[in-house]
Symmetry: C2
Subunit: 429 residues, 2 copies
């Protein structure tokens, strides 16, 4: 199978090296040779650990996608729009299969690209786009195909999990943990797409389409990041027998489909609470299998390469499936549930003036909205330099709309400083 | 696709019900209808929750496998030999595909059946035979196909994990935990195949063939069960920061392939140490993905049905892979490593006379064999009615052969009562 690789960054170069190093193994598995005939990158000369002499080099990846005499174009340039999108579109238009690891592209343009691939009779494959090497796409489309799913999601961003895990395991601050994640290579120099939850949302949009047969729809996902989480929250969570994790979950109920990315308090003995370091965890609930959880590396050149090559070998053996398990036209939107529709428990941290009666005022406002408080804690020793103290509350199960109404009034209290921190408690993960 | 089901126990009946209930969904996924045309069971009349009127009933499942006009025979009778084997052989000989959940059959006759299927040009599929609904077979044969594996295995028996988990979480004795497992439906009335490790060994034999391209070879697996494990071991393990788990692991090193099933002490923060209840966990290490762990239900009618139907739909969509990933003739034996070849740490529990000098004698015998003791503990309060006390030792890394030589002499000491309990410490799981 003649293959073109667009993008020779760490992943692209690793894909080429693996295809060259293990050519006999892969040819045996695919029952035909996989040959890298064309590549495109910015810089031809850089040494990437493989010989370029038998490979045609293209300066322009879109031109390569259009003109190279290949069966398959592998897009590893990245980015939601721009050249990556043009490469994929050109390859499909030219009747070539596409393998991509580009979650941002799929989350925004997945429907359009899937339709184009169907019309042209080619395959759009993207196992590497969700949770790196964890075979989430294959599991949802094939291995668990007998199931009707009710929930999918999990820990889909290694950077956030690493930061929260370091804060929890070592008592580090957010900033220390982020700096360590950057040093260890788990976080980018600009980590904002990770810690804001946006990267998780891209992956969740894809998972939800695969599990529930809904169109890929990034706009219906409620997204919060972990910027607000402090060491105090982690410590208080532990006292409550909980851990703090950034989860992305899509859950189908009779009312509709909820899709959210936000930090959660989860029971300390839940599998997702125990996921260490930069590990990803994909959790799937189906009517036959109950809940399964898959743990593995969510990023890194080799892990991503594993998924990219699995897609290539699938194509080589002639496996053809619609991108999202069904034809694009068969994907059906369902009612969108938003956090205000949620009923559940909540954790609140408020920074308040160290005065008597403040807690009483807060509790009154919650009570007025019918929010029943399960615990409150005001550690005595921790008076901040500005004369404020942290107050921690948890609620019984209640409507989120009521909590939000109460919070609007609590924010307006002169004795409440800064922005209250609300974290949802998720016992069933 | 015309399908015959041999065996209508809890799994067989669930498979038929699902195929009937979700016929449209499955027909859409497979792009053709899946029709149960023939079934075989002991008792025709029993109500199994589906109508029998359009299904041909056979008293003799072997005759059905041979004569029914079907594309596929699903063997759900069970048992390593006897009728299940004859059903599979008859179906293959008649040119029909086979789906089976029968691990005992595959562990003993997998090679012969795989060869027969290849010669006849039919597929032998068995996703349900290993770890129930966890798609271990698909992951090893397809999703992680880009990898060269160095290790596979994990927690492959829910009964054992449930017993050890109850002993650990609730401080129950072995017998209490077993009785609870039986009450909860996690253990058979006769649990001996489970607690002896034999059931785990069947699954490990299949996993090793898939991961390493070796013939299925039950005889090369070293098997120990959990019968010896007591609440004392669990408690002492916890003091050492470890948990006790029954693992089945196959590991390829430069020296050869080790395949074993035995209880292990594993670090309390390892993912496998945290697996609760009757959950199974399959762990895979490959050169690209590092280690992945998949958690899910390893048994139960619905979980098994999920895997059986995945195989059926794969067949319906025309996916054809050799049973163990390669043609049977391409599977190559590698040197077999046995526990005496192992170098590692060990945990020992001895029951000794409550006399001075006994511990000194034991330590001397270990020292004579070059075994270096890392910790020893003799809790004062626990003198048994027979005047003996438990002594707990751990060793530094050492040759197992040396430990076994020392144990032979320790057993011969008049002050040592009963059989010493040796548990291997596995830090890398």
């Amino acid at each position: 199978m003649r293959t073109a690789i667009a993008g020779l960054g760490t992943v692209g170069a690793e894909v080429v090296r693996q295809l060259l190093d293990k050519d006999e193994l892969y040819a045996q598995r695919a029952e035909r040779p996989i040959t890298v005939t064309d590549v495109s990158a910015r810089d031809r000369k850089r040494d990437r650990g493989f010989p370029m002499r038998d490979i045609r080099f293209w300066k322009d990846p879109v031109k390569m996608a259009r003109e190279a005499k290949v069966d398959l174009v592998v897009e590893l340039i990245g980015g939601a729009d721009g050249v990556a999108k043009r490469v994929v579109e050109a390859a499909i238009a030219a009747g070539k299969h596409v393998v991509t690891a580009n979650k941002a592209l799929l989350a925004r343009h997945g429907m359009q690209l899937a339709r184009a691939a169907e019309e042209r009779g080619v395959t759009l494959a993207f196992e590497a786009a969700v949770a790196g090497s964890i075979p989430a796409v294959e599991i949802l489309r094939q291995a668990l195909v007998a199931n009707i799913f009710s929930r999918v999601g999990g820990i889909l961003n290694g950077t956030c999990n690493y930061i929260l895990w370091r804060m929890s395991a070592m008592g580090c601050t957010f900033d220390q943990s982020l700096a360590e994640a950057q040093e260890a290579g788990y976080a980018e120099a600009d980590p904002s797409r990770d810690i804001s939850g946006k990267d998780t949302a891209d992956k969740l949009a894809i998972l939800a389409a695969l599990a529930f047969g809904v169109p890929v729809d990034l706009s219906s996902i409620h997204v919060e990041g972990i910027e607000q989480i402090t060491a105090l929250d982690i410590q208080r969570a532990r006292e409550l027998g909980m851990g703090v994790k950034l989860l992305g979950i899509a859950r189908l109920t009779e009312q509709g489909l909820e899709r959210w990315v936000h930090p959660c308090l989860v029971p300390a003995d839940a599998v997702l609470a125990m996921v260490p370091g930069a590990t990803n965890a994909v959790s799937v609930t189906g009517d036959l299998v109950e809940t399964q959880v898959y743990l593995g590396q969510g990023a890194g050149a080799k892990s991503t390469t594993s998924a990219v090559i699995a897609d290539i070998l699938d194509l080589a053996t002639g496996r053809r499936l619609p991108a999202f398990g069904k034809l694009a036209a068969q994907l059906r939107a369902v009612p969108v549930l938003v956090p205000r529709d949620r009923t559940g428990e909540y954790y609140l941290r408020l920074q308040v003036a160290d005065q008597p009666r403040v807690l009483g005022d807060v509790l009154s406002l919650l009570g007025m909205q019918g929010v029943s408080v399960a615990s409150n804690e005001q550690p005595e020793q921790q008076v901040d330099p500005d004369g404020t103290v942290a107050v921690f509350l948890t609620t019984h199960r209640t409507q989120e709309a009521a909590v939000q109404r109460a919070l609007t009034m609590i924010r307006a209290l002169p004795t409440v400083k800064g922005e209250p921190c609300l974290i949802r408690i998720e016992r069933e993960v």
